[in-house]
């Protein structure tokens, strides 16, 4: 009971801002929480990984998937406004930017949703203003028993 109270106080006392970076250590989750001025909604343990769920101040919920090795192998978002992908995708943000910039000049430009598939990094995103949704993961960091469908 006392421990629960302590945890609650800890959650309340966190500065108004946080979360993790794709490919980063679990410790970066709190960096993200600060960055999005959000609240940690909870940590859910699965057999092969844990999920850190945060709510950004914009109302958008972020989920960060952490492997037993302590690495963030996937991230997902759902909510009214786009998350800070520069922070959430970390080192993969440049890959994401480059893929979009290339798509802008492609004669086969897909509009309305994104589907970026590279050997190192996969991102799906869709929705429209007031209702965005998306996920990204690093295949090389995925625990063997986890499928991409789990990340959303």
């Amino acid at each position: 009971m006392r421990r629960h109270l302590f945890m609650a106080l800890l959650l309340l006392s966190w500065p108004a801002a946080a979360s993790a970076t794709l490919g980063g250590d679990v410790s970066t989750v709190d960096v993200d929480r600060v960055g999005v001025q959000g609240a940690l909604l909870g940590i859910t343990g699965q057999s092969a990984y844990s999920v850190h769920e945060l709510r950004a101040s914009s109302g958008t919920v972020l989920r960060e998937y952490v492997s037993p090795a302590g690495k963030v192998f996937g991230v997902a978002w759902q909510g009214p406004w786009m998350p800070d992908l520069r922070q959430l995708l970390g080192p993969y943000f440049e890959t994401y930017q480059a893929a979009i910039t290339a798509a802008q000049s492609s004669p086969h430009r897909r509009r309305g949703t994104l589907d970026i598939e590279t050997p190192d990094f996969v991102l799906h995103a869709g929705g429209r203003p007031r209702a965005f949704v998306g996920s990204a993961y690093v295949p090389a960091l995925m625990p063997v028993s986890v499928t991409s469908a789990s990340i959303r």
């Binding site: 509009r111 994104l114 995103a125 203003p129 965005f132």
Partner: protein, 391 residues
Amino acid sequence: MPAVRLPLLMLVLASGLLVSQGCDPSSSSSSAPQNVQPIVVNAGPTTTAFDEPFTAVTVCVPGTTNCETIDGILVDTGSSGLRVVGSLLTIPLPQQTVNGAAITECAQFVDGSSWGAVVTADIQIGTERANGVPIQAIGTTVSPTVPAACTASGPLENTVAALGANGILGVGLFRQDCGFGCTVSTAPGLYYGCTSSGCLPTTEALALQLQNPVWLFPKDNNGVILDLPTVPAAGQLSATGSLIFGIGTQSNNAIGSAKVLGVDANGYLATAFGTQAYGGSYIDSGSNGIFFLDAKTTGIPVCADATDFFCPLTLQSATATIGGTNGVTAAAPFTVANFDQLNGSFSAFNNVGGPNPGQFDWGLPFFFGRRIFTAIELQSTPSGVGPYFAY
């Protein structure tokens, strides 16, 4: 519309930017019904677009006949508000200012953001008119620096090439582009107050936000219909259709036997496909494909070269069921063609598809051969109060 006028109309709509200054838009001599605006699905201003519906919109300096008509504007049932690439504006639309700061917007889309000033215009679309409407002049700003937060979800789409259109006419489910959230918090990250020394996030009153112009029309103001013809499985060079204003307000916009599908607060429907139901489904004319599920779930392979589109060996026919929050369901038969085998010089296809894991985005291919209704929030229609989709 007399058949003889069609080629001329198509020529005008296909000819890129059309500017006519100093005109009086109310003196239009169109013989079309009062609430019908022509749209065309063609290669658009970038000359490479497919399955994107374009139209022409007239903007005027408020209260004057100093007007400009800009075509190549994407008709988007997935957003709300008019946005025009600012470099195309030749008339002095006044900057919106609050407490001395120039209000500037970071408009968010799935693949990036558009940064630009909020200016005020009288909007004329066909013979419908909304006066004193906040719109976005994309790429126009009093501050040379774009806030870092506005590039945090992707690259800027501030030019015709990057945006893929001369502008976007958002005629979606909502009255404003942001809504209540932006009136009480800067967290959505949409509105900024700018001076020459920089920009700071700001809240924005509902009436000052970008507005879906349709709900501000004096009549025919409860929603729109996108009416597109059938196209053959091989597609065609282009297709012309109508953006019809109002639902159940005139003889040409009755809901008839269309199924009214209620949406949740986010504008989502559900789609049943196979043995599964997928929440987070939506109907969006701004998407240029039917983007749904993945190769594993559907058995339809993606293209070898463009993995964001499907490439089945033969034309695939499927049926899903779209369900509203009101319990109404509607059958949704659709087809998916081999994207690589479609004629690259065509722009109108009813069978472009691509993966979108766990979701259904019913984009423009779904609109061909249908009349799809988009009813605006809080607006009354004979079939109930919006928001809803119907077809």
